[in-house]
Amino acid sequence: MNMPMQPSARLALGAIAVAAVAVLSISIKSGWPLMVLLSMMLVARPKWWSVLILGFAYTVFLNSGWPLLGSLFFIATCKPKRWWPIPAGIAFGLVEVLSFYLSDRPLGITRGYTAMGSMAEALIYPDHANKISYWGVYEPVIDWTMALILGTTIGSFLSSRYSGDFKLNTVPYLWSFSKGKSTARRWLWAFAAGIMMGFAARIAGGCVSGLLISGVIQLAPAGFIFMMSLWAGGVVTTFLFYRTRVLAVRKD
């Protein structure tokens, strides 16, 4: 968006893009490419009227009133950068219950990552992937959980872009405070911690959303055990890993 470009050139580029997408749309006999292009309007100009136009377009396209209702809801509630913790928590709980009602399963994210690993292996080395017994449980298929991950990313992006909270950064503020501003270091640590976390989630059989929250709200012992040990492990590791500058930070 910030590229220095003449308005006429920009217009020509836009016209070419629209024409290409329209041709694609007609050739595969589906309106989805055009709708995705229209959704880009929200990315370019995150204002209330563009959300409304988009909701109306989807309502006409899908012949259902839900997108319009959803866009009105989005306009009304998502402008502030944050919600107060307790209303936000209640909304979170409603999403959890909606997941039980709509999809007949608790919200669980890690299953999607595992299936992605299975899929990557099946694409690269299919003969070997067939021999692994664990991939019988996590079949290399695009399923509900991957759609959930994609939806989480899109939803977070829309919400942050609409409220003006979207900011590209490679190193979080607090990390640079205690561990330095090196991007490579942060990314390497994140990768190592990610390996540990994926491994741990497979041992325990779920992650925070799939085991902790869904376990606790169904009063299963699994959720409580996982919650306590997660808390203990997190605090101990924080005090070992960030060592000195944990509580007393020198103010410049």
Binding site: F100, Y101, L102, G117, T153, S156, I195, I213, Q218
Partner: protein, 254 residues
């Protein structure tokens, strides 16, 4: 010719667009659209409660800022009540995760160590990627490779040994104790309320100590967004809104 319709018919048509068929179409554990819709809502809620920021999660484990607890406690309170009401009404059934004590303790410790270093849990890593924190990319790649590592080298040898230590199965507390679940829920709600009050008060105590004695140096102060007082961008008058709208239209078709 234009036919005029009564408002009742208009309302009827409007209601028809919200027919239950659209909900039935996205229902079920395999529907991709259902997953996408739930994911959108989940992402919006995570972003608005600021859970997908490294700073918030990490300062929870540094015992500086309990936003995660103040969000998480109402989640548990609201959903535990609603889920058991719906379960008693027979609208849906429970999907209880299996309990295996030893692996879950060890897995929880490792998972907590991962969160402490990484600052994201699997759900919030996806949300953080949408929010623009690019360090979620190596985190997600790491989680995928961790799962592959487990499946490749450990699952076959651990399946019947380590993963069976202390197995209880998919049972809940009220099935083990054989009492009505509402007693437990009321007890649980009371505990959570106490916990919520305690964390809120602890937050206030930290703020008080910081303001008065200059203890607990400003780690959390920097995390709060600098909202300019009085003139908020989302509380403007109608005329200004119309002006802005015109300006936006002009910008769009420039």
């Amino acid at each position: 010719m234009i036919e005029l319709i009564t408002y009742k018919e208009l309302l009827g048509r409007l209601v028809q667009t919200f027919d239950s068929g659209t909900i039935e179409a996205v229902k079920g554990p395999t529907s991709l659209y259902g997953g996408l819709i739930l994911g959108l809502l989940f992402g919006i809620v995570l972003q608005k409660s600021r859970l997908c920021k490294y700073d918030i999660v990490s300062s929870l484990f540094r015992l500086q800022d309990f936003t995660v607890f103040r969000v998480g406690t109402p989640v548990l309170m609201a959903s535990v009540v609603l889920i058991f009401i719906f379960k008693d009404a027979g609208i849906f059934e429970l999907h209880v995760p299996k309990t295996v004590i030893i692996p879950q303790i060890i897995g929880g410790l490792l998972f907590g160590a991962g969160i402490a270093i990484m600052g994201y849990c699997p759900g919030t890593a996806a949300g953080a990627l949408g929010e623009g924190s690019l360090d979620a990319i190596p985190s997600i790649l790491g989680m995928i490779s961790g799962a592959v590592l487990y499946a490749e080298f450990f699952h076959d040898s651990w399946e019947n040994t380590f993963l069976k230590w202390g197995e209880i199965g998919g049972k809940t507390f009220f099935e083990i104790l054989r009492i009505n679940h509402w007693y437990l829920i009321v007890l649980f709600l009371l505990m959570l309320t106490m916990f919520l009050i305690a964390t809120t008060m602890f937050d206030l105590v930290i703020v008080f100590l910081r303001k008065t004695f200059n203890l607990f140096m400003d780690m959390t102060d920097a995390l709060e967004e600098k909202i300019p007082p009085a003139t908020k961008p989302y509380a403007v008058s109608t005329i200004e809104t119309v002006k802005k709208f015109k300006q936006n239209l002009r910008d769009l078709f420039k």
